[in-house]
Subunit: 400 residues, 4 copies
């Protein structure tokens, strides 16, 4: 997580980037009713209220407590409620019980945000020496990126909890981040890449996560990668030809997942007498055939590729070819497990828990989705999820 | 559930009793914040919002739809959300998922109540023939009693969900229904009852539930029953002498329950370095030794009785002796399983599901608690819970 | 469990009754292959090997260790393996893990039986004073009855484990205890009983269990009880008319049991294209319409009775009327919960765990089945099982 | 799974290799009692009887049914009982229920083996054309390797089931495959490897599995790998310095695994008052400090490496350096996920299910263990297990 940032003034970093991102979080939540903030319908999701509190707690704990002279916590018990997996930062509420806590109220959580933001802004008024200033900027950058990740999670978790309600409420009928795409069919081409050694990983002095480092060489065979993502029409064919009923395309664990959960279509697809529909943040609308398939698990992505006689690209193939294709609107599953790059080092202290501890049993996704905040991702960015999950906005790009 | 009600005018029944009880429900909820209404922290509890909606749905479904000419439902989808176990009245949300539903909002649920109440009041404006009027009054009486049961559940569920929050919030610092009792030690006496045939069950023309009928004869041996409930001091002794560590006092299933859940004290007891405390709707306060023990499971009640070399009374002993002792402030576990009386008949239709379907694996409690609405219980009233439950305000009266 | 036994000589008691019963256990197991002895296909069943070892351990622990001078245990580790719920008698293997233990081998367990039997027989050679002799006879009687209970469990567990095998092996093609009954249809009559006080419970100086005491008076209303058990034909009608699909006949928990386990017919009924068949210890044979229905859970028995507009008798009604009807060939579910009689006392020590600790969440069955050893049951005998269980040979006698 | 085998005569292949391996399986089982063959103490293990039947079923199904004219199955129902994950080859008994089946008996399973072996030998008597002969030899080679894998599983499963027995029986006091190593401390060195492109994967015309292909190039950075495996003494230090109590060394899922299962030492380590002991197929013996650590999960291996400030090698590093170090006596965890090599192709038909379907959520192990049959493994061999498993004989080789 070390990076060389440009010579950016603290005041500019705070006002033009950090507080702007902080405000974006509030904007995302604007259509929510108070009751919506409390829901946790699965252990992999969190209540909106928790995201709001947790991101504030992050700035308070890792920045204000270190840099703000005689900082007074907003509420000393909030750490217990809003800590997540930072075990080194103290006890916490069990991950699957966050939806059982009604207090602090939404109003109090917004007051907490406000309190933290005001104190962040005041940081410019203190004398901070160069070495500390560098560290402060570094931590602000982390906090900003951390907040952006929770913005994406907010969309994911809100969508999932609204879907769970049998009344299927509409979040925001004008939501730009989850709208149907009425475009025509796209011409799909195979992009050819040559065998050889490629540079993989982040370089340059912009921010990146520790898991994108060290930059290193990877040897790739000849391969071809599709210029476009798989569409709803493509996947509807997989369904109608019995893709979910035939084990030969599935991993052993994928097949078990299909059987035990009676999976018959992607998450958010709803079968009505008059065809397939899709639940979105704008409400329910018909499946558009040329729209790109989204909310797909790795198991489904892999089975689909196998059914086509093709495969998913590795994350290295994806990164090597990324300059040659148009970026999709969803995260793209790769066939790479989430593992450390050569030379990967875990940072000291609580922030060191950020990435390395998740490097088991997860698969890498590349790209970015419409839920991803502007400027958050990049070609070397490594997103990761367990293979059975699909509440993230994930799609499929094929390779061979 | 048949009863001869006194000649009560419909308008009086509605305004002086039904709508008064309806309003009491709102009063109970007054200290809640919007977020509090959504919580369901266990599958045996329900969100406050659900109780409010369900009791309104009950009047709408079983009364307004039948008696209000051309009645227009407030929202046709509410039946799905607010139905409970009335399987004959249509599909419903799974019992353990009620806390995952944020919409309708609390405000909408209050509007629903208001809508239902206004229509109930208007029932007086229609011409209703005698036979229908009789049935209407009967159903209103059921609705009123049903609402009172949910008032008690509201207190139980609110207390349980607040306890679950690690911040242990205070519901109402002046709550009368869950306050410590600073009384002096009570003199406890054994009341002797003679062997013979006793009348058991409800008679007279006041309302009662179907499970209190038919009135019938029961033969009882000589027995003695305590004049008072067991106190905190009594039970603290059981704990300190290893009552929770010694299987000999426990039922086989009770012992398993203790082991698997690491039970070491009654629900709501909190051990601090300076002694035992108790969580209440007023907040946390020290255990008062002369206060009556409450929130005890049947397993604990039975183990305690066995440890004392005594036993719990049967529900028949309790009822036969009930005129001789001062009523306690909690429900009192009996050693009777919840089973039908001779001649018990299940009513036709959805209301018939009310009681009979629960007559398995539950134990009877008699009396009433501070959570019970004034006038709801009586000496023949049969409350019932599974033996492992203790979120109801239950205590112990011993017999021998 | 106190009783006045007739003046029976120790040698006679041992040779003519105890060792005879001990030998019957071996006869029951004769058709088993070594592999069959190890199976435990459910946590409520036990391996045949365990039954053989446990019954021997019972005699060794409660009799030989007390009465045989300087008795030397066959193997000091067997107590750990063959103890059941006698928590006071030391640690034990978890109930649901008994099938995971291959050693001691079947051969060793038979050697253990032989060792114990030989030492039991030698008890006649020692000088035992009157008071001890009385206690010894009492314990032998308990051991004998305990062994008989395990004989019935052996049949139940063997049948259940053979059914579990997809190859549906035949236990014994000539087994008398589970053969089809080719009798003609029986004339069924209603036996009328008059309201009044009846004596319930065991009296006389023959052996009985503690749960049959004290003899006490019970007041019964007028009732009628069927002269015969429900037949397969009766129940087939219940099935074909949708009995398993209609919640109105079921307890709430019974309905959940039906749903969660997809129950569509009694245990051991197998639907083939050409009709219903039944798995028995003799193998698979067609359902005979006039044969008495067996292996039915309490939930099913109760739902069937409700569907007929009738009910199950209480255990008191059953006992009061038992002289008036022909005994069935199966245990008969009653609508009584298994609870203590007035004056019930738990014996001191490990044997006191025998019955009282199970007096929760179980329903009483009366009568006896073809799996029950000759002479083991009587009209006051109280068998009991959880309402969802049906691997015992249980049937239905109706009342109204 | 394609390979160029040397010009080996069928008769020689059958008698000198296939039937020899088949016989080795029987030798492994020789110390077992009949009862031992039935046990399945975990869903990841299988009964010995099942391994014996399954390996015979494999030869019968994929070879005899294709090549033996008018082959008559030993028993047509065995396919149901002895199939494993070959979904294309028909229905099968659920994986976690294999221990619930006592028939066919052990004797019958041995007769089945004998029947299959006799028919295999007779294959030499038939006229088989060249192309078929090639395929037959290929399938025999697969069957042989498949049987060897089950030989290793037999040792693993037997050890695990004997450990589960509270009596801790001895399998074979002279077992060579699980004996303590009394050697002196080994000098450990760091072997240095240079950055560059390395060839990975199998080449040559000897047998290999499909997952070892295609041979391809991998770019490796400079790295160092230990000349020897981690010892018991090394790991005892990790324990005594609180390695199992400190989350910082663990993956998030590893830490959860430690917490939920109360892991405090490697599988088979037993703490006694006088120190650590180890359960082996020879019985229980003291932990020898210089003996190589074995039966370790990936989570533990990774946490140990992190605690040392080191790491596990990737499978590519391991293979590239494998010529430079002495092979250990256990499988060695790598930090590589089990994923397909470039150009990996799944074979058509049931045999195609062999490897590819497991390529998710598993980590690669390299080397071989004392449980591995002579000649079964090679430097390109890729073994794989879920990260929480440790009943395989796995150890740790460190890298940096």
């Amino acid at each position: 997580m070390s990076f060389q940032y440009p010579e950016e003034k603290l005041i500019k970093l705070l006002t033009e980037r950090v507080l702007k991102v902080r405000n974006d979080t509030i904007e995302i939540c604007r259509p929510l009713k108070t009751e919506d903030y409390v829901l946790q319908v699965s252990d992999f999701a969190s209540p909106a209220k928790w995201h709001l509190g947790h991101t504030s707690w992050f700035f308070e704990t890792f920045i204000l407590k270190e840099f703000y002279p005689e900082y007074k916590e907003f509420d000393s018990k909030f750490g217990f409620v809003f800590n997540s997996y930072y075990l080194s930062a103290g006890e916490k509420v069990a991950r699957d019980k966050r939806g059982n806590i009604s207090r602090p109220t939404v109003k109090e959580v917004y007051e907490y945000r406000d309190y933290v933001d005001k104190h962040l802004l005041k940081l410019t008024e203190f004398q901070i020496d160069d070495s500390n200033l560098k560290r402060l900027k570094y931590l602000l950058e982390i906090g900003l990126n951390h907040e952006q990740q929770h913005q994406e999670l907010l969309y994911m978790d809100i969508k999932y909890s609204f879907f769970y309600n049998p009344l299927k409420p509409v979040f925001d009928s004008k939501s730009k981040v989850d709208e149907p795409d009425f475009n025509n069919e796209e011409v799909v081409e195979w992009i050819s890449m040559e065998e050889g050694v490629y540079d993989i990983g982040h370089s340059g002095n912009q921010f990146c996560y520790d898991n994108e480092l060290e930059k290193h060489k990877v040897y790739l065979n000849d391969f071809q990668i599709s210029s476009a993502l798989v569409t709803n029409k493509d996947f509807a064919e997989f369904i109608s030809e019995g893709g979910y009923k035939n084990f030969v395309h599935w991993h052993d664990e994928g097949w078990k997942w299909v059987q035990e959960n009676n999976i018959e279509a992607p998450l958010y697809w709803i079968k009505e007498r008059n065809g397939w529909f899709q639940f979105t943040l704008q409400g329910i609308h018909p499946i558009l055939p040329n729209d790109k398939l989204k909310h797909i698990s790795y198991y489904e992505a892999s089975a689909f590729a196998s059914w086509k006689g093709l495969r998913l690209p590795t994350e290295f193939e994806w990164e090597a070819a990324s300059g040659k294709f148009k970026k999709g609107s969803h995260w793209e599953w790769t066939n790479s497990a989430y593992l450390p790059y050569p030379g990967f080092k875990i940072a000291k202290g609580a922030l060191g828990e950020y990435n390395g501890k998740f490097m088991i049993n997860q698969m890498v996704l590349r790209g970015a989705s419409k839920f991803t905040p502007e400027g958050h991702s990049r070609d070397t960015y490594r997103n990761f999820f367990h293979p059975y999950l699909s509440w993230q906005m994930s799609g499929i790009r094929l390779a061979k």
